[in-house]
Symmetry: C2
Subunit: 216 residues, 2 copies
C-alpha cells in the first residue's frame, strides 16, 4: 500500500522540515555578504538535489532568477514569514525533569517565534523556583493560566504515563499545538495539532541501521 | 518528483520507527495477562490502520493467526530481536550541556540495548566529574578510547559549529553510528549511519500547522 506524504498549507512535510535548514544556511551567507545564491550551491551544501531545493523554496513564493539565483535576504524573510517566526507564540512546558530543563534553557527556539513563558511540575521541591529565568508553577494552575494568558503551544516533557492527562489539561486550557516528547501516541481532537519527538524510535532506527552496516 | 521512502533490511523507515511503539503496547498487554492480540486492536490503540499493522509486524517474521491474532510474548521477543535490543551496544556522548545531561540521565535507552559508557566535553570545570554514574572525560581522549573500547555509537549534543569536527573524531575512532542532535547536516562516509534529531525542524512544523489551524 503506498504511503502518502502528509502535507500542510499545500507543502509536503519533508519540504517543510527542510526550510529551517535553508534559513540557517542563508543566514551564514549574509555574514559572508553574499547577495545571491543558486539552488545548486544550496543543494551541494545541504546534500540535496537542486530540483528538490527549487521545489521546496517555491513554497515560500520566491523564485530564483536564471544564472543569478535567489536573492539571499529576500529569501530569508520569505522563509521566516512562511514559517510564522515573526509572530511570537507563547508556550507552556510541563515536566521539569532533565529534558524539560534542557528545553527551557535552550536558546534556539526564540528565533523560531516560540517563547516559553512558564513551566509546570507536580514536585513540591521545585515549584516556586526559577530555571533559565522561567518560573516553575504547580501543574494544577496549567489550565486556568493557559486560558487567561492565551497560550497556544504546550510542550510535554513528562513521563509517558502522565502525558495523556497533561495533553487533556492543555487542550481544555485552549492550547492548540502540542510538542510531545513522551513516547506515547496522544489521543487528541481533530482541531489540535501535535508534533512528537520520539527519541526511542530515532535511536531504534539508528541501531537497526548499525546492525546492517556491521553485518556487511 | 515522487519521493521514495528510505528503507533498511527491506523494512521501510516509517515501519521501523513504529516497531518500538508496538513493543511498548505489547508490554502493557503482558501486564494485563493478555496472550493474544489482533491487528485491529493494536491499530485502534495506536491510531493506525490494521493493514499497516499487519505489514509492519510481518517484518519481524511473526504472522498473526486468523481469529486469534498475534501471540503477545512471541511478538515481543521477535521485535526485540529484529531491533537488536538484546545485543548491548556501547555509546559515547559528546557535549555535556543541558541536553547532553538529559540524555545521560534518561533511563529509557538501556532497554533499547544502548549503554552510554562515557561522556566527553572540553570544559575544564566539568571534566573529571560524574553525571548519572557516567564519567566526564576530555574530548581529546575521544578517538583513542573509542578505538580501545570498540565503541560503535556516538551521540552528538554539542553546539552546531562543533558537530562536524566531533563527528570526524568519532569516525576516526571507529564509531559507525552517529545520533546527532546538532541542527547540521553532517558530512560522513558511506559506511557510517546517522540519525538526526532536529528539534528546530520539529518545532517549525508544529508552528506552521498551528498557524493553519488558527487561521481556519
Amino acid at each position: 500500500m503506498p504511503q502518502s506524504i502528509p502535507s500542510y498549507s499545500g507543502i509536503p512535510m519533508p519540504s517543510l522540515r527542510r526550510l529551517p535548514g535553508y534559513h540557517h544556511f542563508l543566514k551564514q551567507l549574509t555574514e559572508l555578504k553574499e547577495e545571491y545564491v543558486s539552488a545548486t550551491t544550496i543543494a551541494q551544501e545541504l546534500k540535496l538535489i537542486p530540483i528538490q531545493v527549487r521545489k521546496d523554496l517555491a513554497y515560500t513564493g520566491i523564485i530564483g532568477k536564471p544564472k543569478v539565483g535567489y536573492p539571499v535576504k529576500e529569501l530569508i524573510i520569505a522563509i521566516e514569514e512562511f514559517l510564522d517566526w515573526n509572530n511570537t507564540k507563547k508556550a507552556f512546558l510541563v515536566g521539569v525533569g532533565d529534558l524539560g530543563r534542557a528545553i527551557i534553557k535552550y536558546q534556539g527556539f526564540h528565533k523560531l517565534g516560540v517563547e516559553i513563558i512558564a513551566a509546570f511540575d507536580s514536585s513540591p521541591e521545585i515549584i516556586g523556583s526559577t530555571i533559565g529565568g522561567i518560573k516553575i508553577l504547580h501543574v494544577d494552575k496549567l489550565t486556568t493560566l493557559a486560558k487567561r494568558i492565551n497560550v497556544k503551544i504546550g510542550i510535554i516533557t513528562v513521563p509517558e504515563d502522565a502525558a495523556q492527562s497533561i495533553a487533556d489539561k492543555m487542550i481544555v486550557g485552549g492550547i492548540k499545538g502540542l510538542w510531545n516528547f513522551a513516547p506515547v501516541k496522544l489521543k487528541i481532537p481533530r482541531d489540535i495539532v501535535v508534533q512528537s519527538v520520539n527519541l526511542a524510535a530515532s535511536l531504534s532506527v539508528l541501531c537497526k541501521q548499525l546492525s546492517d552496516v556491521i553485518k556487511k
